[in-house]
């Protein structure tokens, strides 16, 4: 019985929060749309020959001059908005998720070790974290971008733009994980189960990852969702500042940056549809994140 309660507690709460359900559905729909973009999207916006400038600036189907070929209209290049958005969300998610995973691995690893070993190692890690915090994300992105340009041969640079951006975003996010993991580890270190493991002579790696890690996953999971949202937004901001992705393989952020040019010109859909999409995605991730936070912190209910 108690097993049941505990195990399905989250599900139960979930079933009683309509906002979370809606958010989860919206988020999931976007994610599915993004993942299966190559099969769902009417055209492939990365394939230059699949669209034509002649179709440029067509409004969504419900507007005057809209055509059914392009349900949500086209951008200034004649690209189908639906396809761009689906592929864009795909790229945004790829970047966001991988940045988040890299940040998690890096941050949790360092944070765990810092909390476990303490002392000088901890001090060094935390100073590195300070340095990272003092370097705004934009600068980190510039730095990584620059280094990649410096060391990689020109042919591959375009191909690694996504990776470069991902790493830059990950680097500006890992500190959150490191700090949280470290603080939680400190708490766990005083728990007797950890002392029992240490006392038995278990290897530090095992203690950290087998014993402590599962116990600090809760807060980390919350940060993961929050940071996924920030990663996606950060990518958009970097794109706005011109250090993001090239326009021919757009993420949602790049689409918005491009759309900004049409803020006043009457072609509202080029800006607002991707923006709406981004907002929906980020909001739903955040709502789910908040929900998880509540689930992991039963005292707050």
């Amino acid at each position: 019985m108690r097993d049941f309660i505990k195990r399905y507690e989250g599900l139960y709460l979930f079933s009683r929060s309509p906002a979370v359900i809606i958010a989860a559905i919206v988020g999931l729909a976007i994610i599915i749309g993004a993942v299966f973009a190559p099969w769902i999207a009417p055209v492939n916006p990365y394939d230059l020959s699949s669209f034509s400038l002649m179709d440029g600036l067509l409004p969504p189907v419900w507007e005057e001059f809209g055509t059914e070929r392009f349900l949500l209209g086209t951008d200034d290049q004649g690209r189908d908005m639906i396809s761009s958005i689906l592929y864009g969300a795909r790229l945004s998610l790829i970047i966001g998720v991988s940045a988040m995973i890299i940040a998690t691995v890096l941050g949790v690893g360092l944070g765990l070790a810092a909390g476990y070993f303490g002392g000088r190692f901890d001090a060094v890690v935390m100073r590195i974290a300070d340095i990272q915090l003092a370097l705004p994300a934009i600068l980190t992105a510039l730095l990584i971008d620059g280094i990649a340009r410096g060391i990689l041969p020109p042919e591959v640079q375009e191909d690694v733009r996504v990776a470069v951006l991902t790493i830059a975003i990950a680097l500006s996010l890992w500190v959150n994980f490191a700090r949280t993991a470290r603080a939680s580890t400190f708490v766990q270190m005083n728990k007797e189960y950890v002392q029992a493991a240490v006392m038995q002579g278990q290897h530090p790696i095992r203690v950290m990852f087998v014993h402590i890690l599962p116990n600090i996953l809760g807060p980390l999971l919350v940060i993961m969702t929050v940071d996924l949202a920030s990663a996606i937004l950060l990518e958009a901001t970097l794109s706005f500042l011109g250090i993001g992705l090239p326009a021919d393989s757009p993420s949602l952020g790049t689409l918005i940056r491009i759309g900004m040019q049409f803020l006043l010109s009457g072609e509202w859909w080029i800006l607002w549809i991707p923006t709406l999409f981004l907002v929906a995605l980020v909001v739903s991730i955040n709502v789910v994140g908040d929900f998880l936070r509540d689930v992991f912190n039963p005292r707050l209910r």
């Binding site: 097993d3 728990k191 007797e192 189960y193 029992a196 006392m199 038995q200 002579g201 278990q202």
Partner: protein
């Protein structure tokens, strides 16, 4: 003055309402100390919370009457209820450490409370506060009042808490385990204070505790609760001395006596625990026996000192180290139980951690079975003592990794020390070991949170045994448990120790418990040994003043009440 009738409190949940308190009946007179006892989860705190109107959400009072004098406590609206709190009913919580707002001076908290209920000037309120603290026995109250809570000791803080509860002259104070967190000396002061207040000020007390000794010492009347229901109530001597109900009798039997050593405890039947007599654990027993190749091992400590880095107070001076253990020397004879007693902060846990290699002593030597036992990190991860010394920790809630299944927790030592290489064999052995400690085999696939504190401690014992240890260190293994469960665990430990010839270091602040367990006793205070000796000698003819005081202050129930 307070009359509670047919009180029923429910906590709605997705499985329907959980009834925490059912048909509760009790009444408290002016100046009466009314004890409320019962095992953990019996509903004691819930009754108190219901009376003062601070039930945790989503709990609600489903039925019954609560009358304070002429006031119907159930009819009050939010604001009336809040106005009544402090003015007529106050409440004291268990932990004085956390009951005071750490960011406010004692003075401000007192004055604020007085002003909330009385229309007097700040100066008058301050005078009142000073008087009150004086009355509580805090010297130089006017000056000490300027302090923040963290600058007070635990006992003083609890006095401040009582002063706060008292400063508006309430008729009734609900004290929810007010002394559980205190050591005996302080506890006795606080209890005296409560007694005096009831007598002099005629304040009614509802004293919630599971310490029968405390109840016996000061309660006028007592109510025994179990599973949310009132079992028995009446004057203390009558209910506890001549219990009518079986449950009360069992409860009384489980209280360890301070004045003598008994062989076994009588324990109430508890669901889910198989008593060791009918346990199967034969295979596990055999496995353990096979491990006993040579004789039991003893430990010695010689001039062991442990220090922690102190707080830095100056930019240039190195901080003075804080010496937690000073010149500790004693022997643990092979196959015997050494009890270590002492008040909170005396260094008991530090000693345990030093023995297990978690802390490195700054000086001194330790040996195990004659061989030197390195301390701290110098003890290699594969040092034989890692296996031979095992420990059972104080807190059953944190000593098991809540994310691992019981099976994984138990199998870990087998795997780690290479005692059993086959996975299935490990599992079988674990199940059998569970039986040995009185746990059902299904437990192996569950998680720790699915067990009660007593059950978890059994699992912790099983984990320790599965390393085939020769030395078992128990650091307050029963302090988180209530008496009946404590009794079961002590029985279990005693049995195992005898059966396998384990050498045991048993740490507790509870003198009665140690007396039941130990062959020899070490009395610690402020990191120094005050007295060492054979247990019976120390208890009957203590030599150190400190030991005498400890023994004198420990609340006991009259021997006559013991069935």
């Amino acid at each position: 003055m307070l009359r509670v009738e047919n009180l029923t409190v429910k906590f709605p949940s997705r499985f329907g309402d959980v009834t925490a308190v059912e048909d509760m009946v009790m009444s408290i007179d002016v100046g009466e100390i009314h004890g409320l006892v019962g095992e953990s989860g019996a509903g004691k705190s819930t009754v108190g919370a219901a009376i003062i109107g601070l039930l945790q959400k989503p709990g609600y009072v489903a039925d019954g009457d609560m009358m304070l004098g002429d006031t119907d406590l159930r009819r009050l609206d939010r604001f009336e209820a809040h106005a009544l709190r402090g003015k007529r009913i106050s409440m004291i919580f268990q932990d004085p450490q956390t009951s005071l707002n750490p960011l406010m001076r004692i003075e401000d908290q007192l004055i604020e409370t007085i002003l909330a209920h009385e229309d007097i000037s700040v100066a008058d309120a301050r005078t009142r506060a000073v008087d009150l603290l004086d009355e509580m026995g805090i010297e130089n109250a006017a000056a000490r009042m300027q302090s923040y809570p963290h600058q007070f000791s635990g006992g003083m803080r609890q006095r401040v808490v009582i002063a706060l509860a008292l400063c508006t002259n309430p008729e009734l104070i609900i004290a929810d385990e007010p002394t559980t967190a205190l050591d005996v000396a302080v506890q006795s002061q606080v209890l005296d204070l409560i007694r005096r207040l009831a007598d002099v000020r005629k304040v009614g007390f509802m004293l919630i505790t599971h310490d029968i000794g405390v109840i016996a010492q000061i309660a006028d009347t007592v109510t025994v609760m179990r599973h949310g229901k009132m079992i028995e109530n009446g004057p203390t001597a009558q209910v506890l001395g001549q219990p009518k109900e079986d449950y009360t009798k069992q409860l009384m039997a489980a209280v360890p006596p301070l004045d003598r050593k008994i062989a076994r405890f009588k324990v109430p039947d508890e669901d889910g625990i198989i008593t060791p007599s009918e346990a199967r654990g034969n295979a596990a027993e055999a496995w353990l026996m096979r491990g006993i190749k040579e004789d039991p091992i003893g430990l010695t400590l010689d001039q062991v000192n442990v220090a922690f880095p102190g707080v830095r107070t100056s930019l240039w001076k190195k901080p003075d180290p804080y010496v937690a253990l000073r010149d500790i020397s004693f022997d643990v004879k092979p196959g015997t139980v050494v009890g270590i007693v002492g008040e909170s902060g005396s260094g008991k846990s530090t000693l345990a951690k030093t023995l297990t290699g978690l802390i490195k002593p700054v000086s001194g030597t330790m040996t195990m079975g004659g061989a030197p036992l390195p301390g701290g990190r110098e003890r290699a991860r594969n040092h034989p003592s890692r296996q031979l010394i095992q420990m059972v920790f104080q807190d059953p809630f944190s000593s098991l990794n809540s994310r691992h299944r019981i099976g994984a927790i138990l199998a870990e030592p087998l795997w780690l020390y290479g005692l059993e290489t086959d996975k299935d064999a490990r599992r079988k052995l674990c199940i059998d070991m569970l039986s040995l400690v009185g746990m059902p085999p299904e437990a192996i696939d569950k998680y720790p949170h699915q067990f009660s504190g007593g059950q978890r401690q059994r699992i912790a014992v099983a984990r320790a045994l599965l390393a085939r240890p020769k030395v078992l260190i128990c650091d307050e293994p029963t302090s988180a448990l209530d008496v009946s469960i404590q009794a079961q665990l002590l029985n279990l430990l005693k049995g195992l120790q005898a059966a396998f010839g384990l050498t045991v270091v048993f740490i507790s602040h509870n003198l009665s418990v140690v007396r039941q367990m130990a062959d020899d006793v070490v009395v610690l205070r402020n990191g120094k040994i005050r007295e060492v000796g054979a247990s019976e000698t120390v208890y009957t003819t203590p030599t150190a003043d400190y030991t005498k005081r400890l023994l004198a202050l420990t609340p006991v129930m009259p021997a006559a009440w013991r069935a």
